[in-house]
């Protein structure tokens, strides 16, 4: 197949998505969006795992990304709970407002 | 378990026991500390024995027990004729400090005396340790109680001074720590005699650059402790702010850790580097002598004056060590003791004055001779000893040091002449101070009814006076036991062929 997409393109896609996640983390001001950016980064990592798995013809990568999903779920539960408590305390979700401790 | 171990650990035991004493019973605590320190002192006198009768010149009371298995760190202590006297100096001054603090310290009495004894433990340990690791431990152990003594019982700016003292000395000592570790990595041992033997035989091969760096690492620690110009500025602050006992221990014993370190470790281990640096060291020492004296002259504060005088006096000691010949080194050791006695005495007396008047400013005194004749008489004697009047202790040390430096190829006559101006200057500032404090008419009403020495203060000051006279008249009592050890150190210093032949001949003539 001449026009097949090389595996590295998948990896670069994942890198782009990872970068977008990082950008979201840095540029978004809503905590929940920031948290979602992390999920985007994890997705990007998953794509990397799957791509490598394909290249290696192994199933292990799939299992790794499965674990990542589990971890993501757990993080989401805890993270959203933390966000809830923060919101209860401050009535805001703007990340710039959560900076009372500094220096 | 030798007598030396007992001398080292008695203060520690006393420290622990004091911690267990009830803190309200001041009298018990005081008496106990006095008793313990006196017992330690008496025990330490026993250490003279071997030096007096057989005088081996090598280390005696040698205890070498494994402490930490790997890396091989030993509890290795012993004394030779040099450390012997410094140990005795420490043990002598501790009971004196206990006595002088008897009434002055009225809060946290228990802790004060505990720290004092802990300090003694550290100081004695420093002078006995022959394992670098152990040495460093003692070195730092002595730092902490002194820090508290200054910081808790000191005067107005005590905190600044305590912290300054602590950081200054610690900066030096950590560099020494790096040096120690490096040396360990090269030699596989912390044992000082073994390292020395290795360096001597060449089995521990160090490049000359490494030697120089190691020398400087050790030197940094010791020079700060001495203190050598321009690293001295912690000293006036610490002295001024410390309580009397703290000042005394600091000046009399603690500064000697620096010079002792130079003499015991720094120079014998790296003689070539020492010789390379000798010019610089000597220059700094001489600057310190003159500078300390000049600055002392214009101090308005008694304690500060004495403190700067210490800078000057310790400059002499360094000079003696740097001259690397027998008179210089013996003089240096002797001057360490002298300075311990004289400056210790000065601090005691200044402490007594400031106890009475709650000020240390010279201008606040005047005319005391009429009010407190005995105190002033003692003051005079100690002052004279400090300015090196022949017949008193200071003279012998200064004489030997200057003689040594005069004959040394590093220094020579011209440098010595510079250094000797310190003798003139010391007379100037001490006598001027003495005049302003004691002579003339009483200018401040508060001074008119100051009490003279009481019994306790007599007890404190008499040993000092006795020592100044005995050490001045019979210096050989002290020089003879140390002589073989000094010779040993010198033979280490001059072990390499790099000494020019004529120089050796010249110093050989004097040996």
């Amino acid at each position: 197949m001449q026009n097949a997409v090389p595996i590295s393109w998948y990896l670069i896609l994942s890198a782009i998505l990872f970068g977008l996640g990082v950008a979201g983390f840095i540029y978004r001001r809503n905590i929940i969006t920031v948290f979602m950016s992390i999920e985007l980064m994890l997705n990007a990592v998953n794509l990397t795992f799957i791509s490598f798995s394909y290249k290696l013809r192994q199933v292990d990568g799939h299992i790794f990304s499965f674990f990542v999903m589990v971890v993501a779920a757990a993080e989401a539960a805890v993270g959203l709970a933390i966000i809830l408590t923060v919101f209860k305390n401050r009535e805001t979700l703007m990340i710039d407002d959560i900076s009372s401790m500094k220096y | 378990m030798t007598l030396l171990d007992a001398v080292i650990f008695l203060p520690l035991a006393a420290f622990l026991i004091i911690l267990a004493l009830p803190k309200e019973n001041f009298e018990l605590i005081r008496r106990f500390s006095l008793g313990a320190s006196v017992v330690t002192f008496v025990a330490s006198l026993g250490l003279i024995g071997p030096y007096w009768f057989r005088n081996p010149g090598k280390f005696v009371f040698d205890t070498d027990l494994p402490w930490i298995a790997s890396p091989p760190i030993h509890y290795h202590v012993a004394i030779d004729g040099i450390s012997l006297w410094l140990v005795i100096l420490s043990t002598l001054l501790t009971p004196i400090c206990v006595l002088v603090s008897w009434r002055y310290i009225d809060k946290y009495v228990k802790q004060f005396f505990a720290f004092l004894l802990l300090l003694e433990f550290g100081l004695v340990g420093v002078f006995c340790a022959l394992d670098f690791f152990l040495f460093y431990v003692f070195w730092e152990v002595s730092l902490v109680p002194m820090y508290f003594l200054i910081g808790i019982w000191g005067h107005e700016r005590r905190i600044y001074s305590a912290v300054k003292f602590f950081l200054y000395t610690m900066t030096g000592s950590v560099l020494m720590l790096v040096g120690i570790i490096y040396l360990y990595n090269q030699s596989g041992t912390f044992d000082y005699p073994r390292i020395l033997a290795g360096l001597q035989s060449g089995s521990i091969a160090l490049s000359s650059q490494a030697q120089l760096l190691l020398f400087l690492a050790f030197f940094a620690a010791f020079a700060i402790k001495v203190p050598l110009f321009p690293l001295h500025t912690w000293l006036p602050d610490a002295h001024v702010e410390a309580p009397t006992a703290g000042s005394v221990m600091l000046a009399s014993v603690m500064l000697k850790m620096g010079t002792y370190g130079l003499l015991r470790y720094c120079v014998p281990m790296f003689p070539a580097a020492a010789r390379d640096c000798a010019g610089w060291i000597v220059t700094l020492a001489i600057i310190g002598i003159i500078y300390g004296a000049l600055v002392a002259m214009v101090q308005p504060d008694l304690k500060k004056l004495v403190a700067y005088s210490s800078v000057s006096h310790l400059g002499f000691v360094v000079l003696g060590i740097a001259s690397m010949n027998v008179q210089g080194v013996q003089g240096a050791v002797y001057q360490m003791l002298n300075h311990g006695v004289s400056t210790g005495g000065l601090f005691l007396l200044v402490g007594m004055l400031s106890d009475r008047r709650h000020t240390r400013l010279i201008e606040q005194f005047g005319g005391l001779k009429k009010v407190t004749p005995h105190l002033v008489a003692a003051f005079l004697l100690v002052t004279l000893s400090s300015i090196g009047l022949p017949g008193l202790n200071g003279f012998v040390g200064e004489f030997l040091i200057l003689l040594g430096s005069f004959r040394s190829d590093v220094l020579g006559p011209r440098m010595t002449a510079f250094a000797a101006t310190g003798v003139i200057l010391s007379a100037t500032y001490m006598l001027w101070m003495f005049q302003r404090v004691n002579y003339g008419v009483v200018t401040h009403e508060e001074n008119r009814n100051l009490p003279d020495l009481d019994r306790r203060e007599w007890t404190v000051i008499v040993p000092i006076i006795a020592m100044t006279v005995v050490m001045g008249v019979l210096p050989n009592l002290f020089l003879k036991p140390m002589a073989p050890s000094v010779d040993r150190v010198l033979s280490l210093i001059h072990r390499e062929g790099s000494v020019r032949a004529e120089v050796r001949q010249r110093s050989g003539a004097g040996r």
Partner: protein
């Protein structure tokens, strides 16, 4: 065909990713994220990850994102207000760093796999539920059990933090 699918869904994923970053309303971002996930599921499928593609849709898009949306709704989070004083460092350095980071990673990937093979749909079929299950419960038994603890912690943690009374 494979290439086409890749380009369509890769493009969609990148678009949704960008949208996530650009949108100011969290719901929009959440929906974009779901879009990314869906696109990626297709790509997973293309790479032979049947099971993982399904899990992506069910677990990730289905469960996790629902949780997000739920919380957004619960907190009634609106669009971000006008930018307040935030971190200037982050604002200016961020884009530079990001570019540097991306460039580095891409360069390294290219350098690492200079002549990588093309992806052919169906050439790797180890990603079925059966394969995954077999390996998961033998070789990866311990990690699997460990995740149970992880989830337990998540539950306990969420309860501790979010429960009502006290």
């Amino acid at each position: 065909m494979t290439a086409l699918i890749f380009f369509i869904f890769a493009g969609l994923a990148v678009f949704c990713g960008i949208n996530l970053v650009v949108q100011t309303h969290p719901i929009a971002s959440a929906l974009s994220l779901i879009g990314v996930m869906a696109s990626l599921a297709i790509l997973y499928l293309q790479l032979g990850g049947e099971f993982i593609a399904a899990a992506q849709m069910i677990v990730y898009a289905g469960a996790i994102m629902v949780l997000f949306v739920f919380v957004i709704m619960l907190l009634n989070a609106g669009a971000e207000g006008p930018s307040r004083e935030g971190s200037r460092f982050a604002k200016y350095m961020g884009i530079v760093l990001l570019a540097a980071f991306l460039g580095l990673i891409s360069f390294i990937i290219q350098a690492m796999l200079p002549a990588s093979e093309g992806v052919v749909f169906g050439s790797f079929q180890g990603g079925t539920a059966a394969e995954v299950g077999r390996k998961l419960f033998t070789f990866y038994l311990l990690p699997f059990e460990v995740t149970s603890v992880l989830i337990l912690i998540a539950i306990v943690g969420a309860i501790v933090l979010a429960r009502k009374e006290l």
